[in-house]
């Protein structure tokens, strides 16, 4: 049996997206050209823009197509430096950015780079469930803060933040608000007006669209400076000839999400509860990561005491099951998941963590297969481990 439980990494194309992209393969015109070929491409790009805008409650002109979620996040953080200089005339100079310790590396590493360029970056802590503390945010906000970037749903543990409440505080302090909603859009309702955010990041391949395309919501009237300069595309906000096929795919993907999302949530929650209960019933000394309720219904992150994640991943791979791990060994660095460490899980437990992320095609049969296959694998690894002591799970403590 082949079981794909790694949807937070990427998703298969939705059959409808695939169909539409194949049908559009012949479309090669440059949307910037005035002739028939160009106009055809332009029409399709703008149609997709309407669909994306409609899906998140934005105005069409507030959607900028980009090459990835990472690019969108880089764009927002990097424009902060421009807002502090002469790229954006009239903008106020503010010297500080606030973000969290559990962001995607594309935010964290860009923040480090900005730090080298004179920007002060402050990092919000999270509690044991991965939630930020609004009081800590209130303490950090001040006249010097220009931008706050907090991810809506965490990719590793699925924890959801209260973006609307955070945005309200940020705006009261005169700063701009960005949320990386790559893992949230298409899984939980996202409406930019309800959230109030100034910038929001979307990626196509996390929601059954193609890779290499994403969208950035930029609220009308907020300061902006392109990351990729030198073209009039996207109203001068992102140079480079548009990825027409990818954009068309993204448009269709959000359209399908709009149709399928509402009925999916309950089913997904049942699958997650079954998986969680199944693991809990058959394996001792485990720790569930992430928030028990404010979390993506499709993501379950578990730490297994005394075992190392890469070996679990590879033994599962041999059984046809795809998952991912917060272990350092799988990534090539020596540090385990920064997200788990931020929630106070100790390094040893973080090394033994596995993320199961389900998707629209995940069936109860697949969940049952995983529940069947996993316990003997954990048993087997623990049997050869120096680190496993039955009942010896040290509770994750800060």
């Amino acid at each position: 049996m082949k079981v794909y439980f790694d949807h937070n990494a990427t998703t298969p194309l939705h059959p409808e997206v695939k169909k539409e992209m194949i049908a559009a393969m012949e479309m090669f015109g440059n949307p910037s050209s005035m002739h028939a070929w160009g106009r055809e491409a332009r029409a399709n790009v703008e149609d997709a823009r309407r669909k994306v805008a409609d899906f998140i409650g934005a105005h069409e002109q507030e959607i900028v197509f980009v090459g990835s979620g990472s690019e969108a996040n880089n764009t927002v953080l990097s424009l902060f430096v421009c807002a502090s200089s002469q790229c954006i005339p009239g903008s106020r100079m503010r010297s500080t950015i606030i973000t969290t310790k559990i962001e995607h590396p594309c935010v964290l590493e860009t923040s480090v780079c900005l730090g080298h360029r004179g920007v002060r970056v402050k990092y919000l802590d999270v509690d044991q469930y991965g939630k930020i503390d609004l009081d800590q945010l209130a303490g950090m906000l001040g006249d010097d803060v220009g931008l706050v970037s907090v991810m809506m749903a965490n990719n590793e543990i699925g924890t959801l933040q209260d973006i609307a409440a955070i945005t309200k505080m940020v705006h009261e302090n005169g700063a701009y608000m960005h949320t990386d909603a790559v893992q949230a859009v298409g899984k939980v309702p996202v409406d930019v007006r309800d959230l109030g955010v100034d910038f929001l990041t979307i990626s196509a391949h996390k929601i059954y669209g193609p890779k290499g395309v994403g969208a950035l919501f930029v609220r009308k009237g907020v300061p902006y400076c392109p990351l990729i300069r030198g073209g009039h595309q996207e109203l001068g906000r992102r140079a480079g000839t548009e990825n027409t096929l990818g954009i068309l795919g993204l448009g269709r993907a959000v359209e399908m999400r709009k149709l399928e999302m509402p009925e999916e949530e309950e089913r997904m929650l049942t699958l997650k509860q079954t998986l969680k209960a199944g693991i809990e019933a058959s394996i001792d000394d485990i720790h569930f990561n992430g928030h028990p309720t404010d979390s993506l219904a499709s993501t379950l992150n578990v730490s297994f005491a005394g075992v190392e994640g890469e070996s679990i991943l590879l033994y599962l791979d041999l059984e046809g099951i795809a998952v991912s791990t917060g272990s350092a060994c799988a990534s090539g660095s020596l540090d385990p998941s920064h997200v788990l460490l931020a929630t106070g899980v100790d390094a040893e437990l973080a090394h033994g963590s596995i993320r199961f992320s389900m998707g629209r095609e995940t069936s109860m049969k697949e969940v049952e297969y995983v529940i069947d296959v996993l316990p003997p694998i954990i048993q087997r690894i623990r049997n050869m481990s120096t680190a496993y002591i039955k009942g010896g799970l040290h509770a994750a403590s800060r």
Binding site: S311, S327, C329, H351, M384, A387
Partner: protein, 203 residues
């Protein structure tokens, strides 16, 4: 279109991971003549190697192990346990991580330290045997030289950092904090950096 590629690991390594040899069953090590443990859980790998020795001939007759770690850590200890059976203590003591990696059909660069750890655990077990049998004089202390006096960083720390991916002096500093106080050890550290890069990666 290409089909799913092979693992980042060799077939031999995969075989040792799927069917590890000589796993120590249970916690009891009383039947063994030497016990060695290396690594730590916070870093994600730890290995224990236990040996039985033919005392007349000083030959290793059995070698078992437990490992907490990734696939290459498990396979490294497994293959090592096969390699040392029948070897004299002296031969076994001098097995290098390179030989373990070679026996496994190669290891990815960032996994070399897994083979280093098994090797260290084996030497610890052999030294433990000597100590237990009144041959403390035979215990071979690894020659360690402190390079950075301020941060107490040894040549072994530098070797480990290289095995874990450090290729430049800056990366070496990032990993070990060496030379971050007075900076006097820079020249010596750079020589060792080049030496270990050459030994382990041929560059």
């Amino acid at each position: 279109m290409l089909q799913a590629g092979e693992w980042a690991y060799s077939d031999t390594l995969k075989e040792h991971f799927m069917n590890p040899k000589n796993i120590l069953q249970g916690e009891n090590t009383d039947d063994f003549d030497g016990v060695g443990m290396e690594g730590n859980l916070q870093c994600g790998d730890q290995m224990m190697v236990v040996i039985k020795v033919d005392k007349e001939r000083e030959i290793i007759t059995d070698c078992q192990w437990k490992t907490y770690g990734c696939a290459s850590a498990i396979a490294s200890t497994s293959v090592l346990s096969e390699m040392v059976k029948g070897m004299t203590l002296d031969q076994a003591f001098h097995i290098s991580p390179k030989e373990v990696a070679k026996e496994l059909g190669g290891l990815p660069d960032h996994k070399i330290h897994c083979s280093v750890l098994g090797d260290k655990a084996l030497r610890a077990a052999i030294n433990n045997y000597y100590t237990r049998n009144g041959m403390a004089d035979k215990v071979k202390q690894e020659q360690v030289k402190v390079i950075c006096q301020c941060m107490n960083i040894t040549d072994h720390d530098i070797e480990d950092a290289v095995l874990e991916g450090a290729r430049t002096y800056f990366e070496l500093q990032e990993r070990t904090k060496l030379g971050t106080v007075c900076g006097q050890c820079k020249d010596e550290a750079e020589v060792l950096l080049e030496k270990f890069k050459h030994i382990h990666f041929g560059v």
